[in-house]
Amino acid sequence: MALRFSPDNEARFQALLARYPDRRAALIPTLVLANREFGYLSREAMEYVASRLELPESYVLNTATFYTLLRKHPVGRFHIQVCMNVSCYLRGADHLADHLKRVLGIGFGEVTPDGLFSLEGVQCLASCGTAPVIQVNDDYHEDMTVEKVDCLLESLRRQASQADGARPGTGGVP
């Protein structure tokens, strides 16, 4: 089935077009919308954005590949980003990362077989005063410890099993 924005995102897309004197400027915000709606930017999703903005696909691809948050591969329902930069490193980020890899059984850049979790080591999330920090989908979890990570994973699992129609691989979009 061909990709299409939901009515809400279609309205957001139309509002974006009105913001700029040049429609190319709407490209990154539109890719962000598509990333959220479709879970990641498949080739099909990028083609869709290109057609909506009347831009060459190559132009869209050139921009999309520059930005780390515009995902080119599917991620888990809960995408866990662990800040590995200096302030978090000094407060034990490596222990958190090792623990997450061990309990989830995956490395950075991988997705659990059930599609529930994916893991990524990232650069500074601007939360250095409450290091170490991890981001799960949209939410920051600060001053993290191994114990807090365990509680968090448990509550995410519970959340997933309770949610009706939970779909794996949607980047946290229910």
Binding site: A25, I28, P29, Y67, N85, L90, Q123, C124, C128, G129
Partner: protein, 435 residues
């Protein structure tokens, strides 16, 4: 403000906090809550002035850019060409990403109205009718907060057509980033808004002449914007007196790493670094001796324990051989491996290089690989000099400051902790407990 008004100003200096007014756990997200605290008085004041008089007031206040470069905001505004018929833009840099920095997030998350007051005043001063606030893509919640605050301002006539009945019109939009540190560089940020990869532009022309969509553009940091209403509220003289000569105002200091109370602290520009670490942040964990302090974000040259008696303002830090940067102070104590700390930093710049300039694209990768080999016990004699040489070949040879940002920590770490680097190489392993 007229000279008479200055003379009749009250002799007692105003008391803060001026920037970090929210108490722990508090947020001021409703316009009414902001208005009952005297909000938008500075905007009303500015809109009653001539735009150039507003710029002059900000110039006299010596408000230097809080993003890291420290360029005087009013002087920057004055660079806009007088005879260019094109529209003008104000762009706010909220792409906070210099490791160690987490101050702009405070405004974006908990106190957006002072930022938006600054946006209105600055846009009016430079005669812009459209402003974009570029917020890093990870800040999903913060983007919602700022968009909601903007909506409230439209609803009440503070934005849109005919702002507060003055005939001035202003539209403000949030533009999301999508994960690229280099977009915090102002010309890369403009490229990014235009829908392109964030590759910095050659200058000249400077953005004030040819900026967003080819139009005259001013780019300012979030904290700088939040300082602008303070200049209008208290007057340029009072603002200047809050800091040091030539560098006015209060400043937010970000403290992280091995301290008892990491966090944000507001104090006058020029506050002593020791006071920030030991008084505000409570000293080091377990009172361990300090090994090093990165004073102003990961790109700024590291200081050793005997170099901390310094005023944190732009000129004093330069005189000390480092930089105020974004005032993001990262403390690490004895027992920490300086090679491992540098490796995090070098890996970051290698990851974030946009790849446009050969010295940076190739050089940052070399720096990372050599530091990594030293840390992992594969260092070779001469590697310290190799690092210094490679860093020296990047510095000054790139379009933007990211190359310098990658070079400076390498030069300062290798120079100041050279014995530790050489020990790694001689022993063929990391001699510290973590390794």
């Amino acid at each position: 403000m007229s000279e008479n008004a200055d003379r009749s100003a009250p002799p007692t200096p105003p008391t803060g906090p001026f920037l970090l007014r929210c108490r722990p756990g508090e947020a001021i997200l409703r316009l009414d809550d902001h208005l009952t605290r005297g909000g938008f008085e500075p905007v009303r004041k500015a809109l009653a002035m001539d735009p150039d008089a507003v710029t002059d007031e900000v110039k006299r206040a010596s408000l230097r850019g809080r993003g890291g470069a420290g360029f005087p905001a009013g002087v920057k505004w004055g660079f806009l060409p007088k005879d260019n018929p094109k529209p003008r833009y104000l762009v706010v840099n909220a792409d906070e990403g210099e490791p160690g920095t987490f101050k702009d997030r405070y405004f974006l998350e908990r106190d957006p109205f002072p930022l938006l007051e600054g946006v209105i005043i600055a846009s009016y001063a430079i005669r812009a009718n459209v402003s974009y606030i570029y917020i890093r893509g990870e800040f999903v919640k913060q983007i919602r907060v700022v968009e909601d605050a903007i909506r409230q301002l439209y609803d009440r006539g503070f934005l849109g057509r005919n702002v507060l009945g003055t005939g001035y019109s202003l539209d403000v939009y949030v533009h999301p980033g999508a994960g690229a540190y280099v977009c915090g560089e102002e010309s890369a940020l403009l490229e990014s808004i235009e829908g392109k990869p964030g590759r910095p532009r050659n200058r000249p022309p400077f953005p004030a002449q040819v900026g967003l969509f080819g139009c005259p553009t001013i780019i300012n940091n979030v904290e700088t914007m939040a300082c602008v209403p303070l200049v209008l509220r208290h007057g340029a003289d009072a603002f200047l007196k809050m800091g040091v000569p030539g560098d006015g105002g209060p400043k937010i200091y970000c403290v992280s790493g091995h301290v008892k109370r990491p966090g944000l602290y507001e104090a006058p520009m020029g506050t002593n670094l020791k006071r920030i670490i030991f008084e505000f942040a409570g000293g080091t964990l377990d009172d361990r001796p300090i090994l090093g302090v990165i004073p102003g974000g990961s790109s700024t040259p590291v200081l050793t324990a005997d170099e901390l008696d310094v005023a944190m303002d732009f000129n004093s830090m330069r005189a000390k051989g480092s930089m105020l940067g974004s005032a993001a102070t990262v403390v690490f104590t004895e027992g920490t491996c300086p090679v491992a700390v540098l490796l995090r930093i070098s890996r970051f710049y290698a990851h974030e290089s946009c790849g446009q300039c050969t010295p940076c694209r190739e050089g940052t990768g070399w720096l990372e690989r050599v530091v990594e080999s030293i840390e992992h016990g594969n260092g070779r004699p001469g590697d310290c000099d190799l690092l210094l040489s490679a860093a020296g070949q990047i510095q000054g040879n790139t379009i933007c400051a990211l190359g310098d940002a990658a070079a400076m920590p390498v030069q300062s770490f290798v120079t100041k902790f050279r014995a530790d680097f050489e020990r790694h190489i001689a022993e063929g392993r990391c001699p510290h407990a973590h390794g």
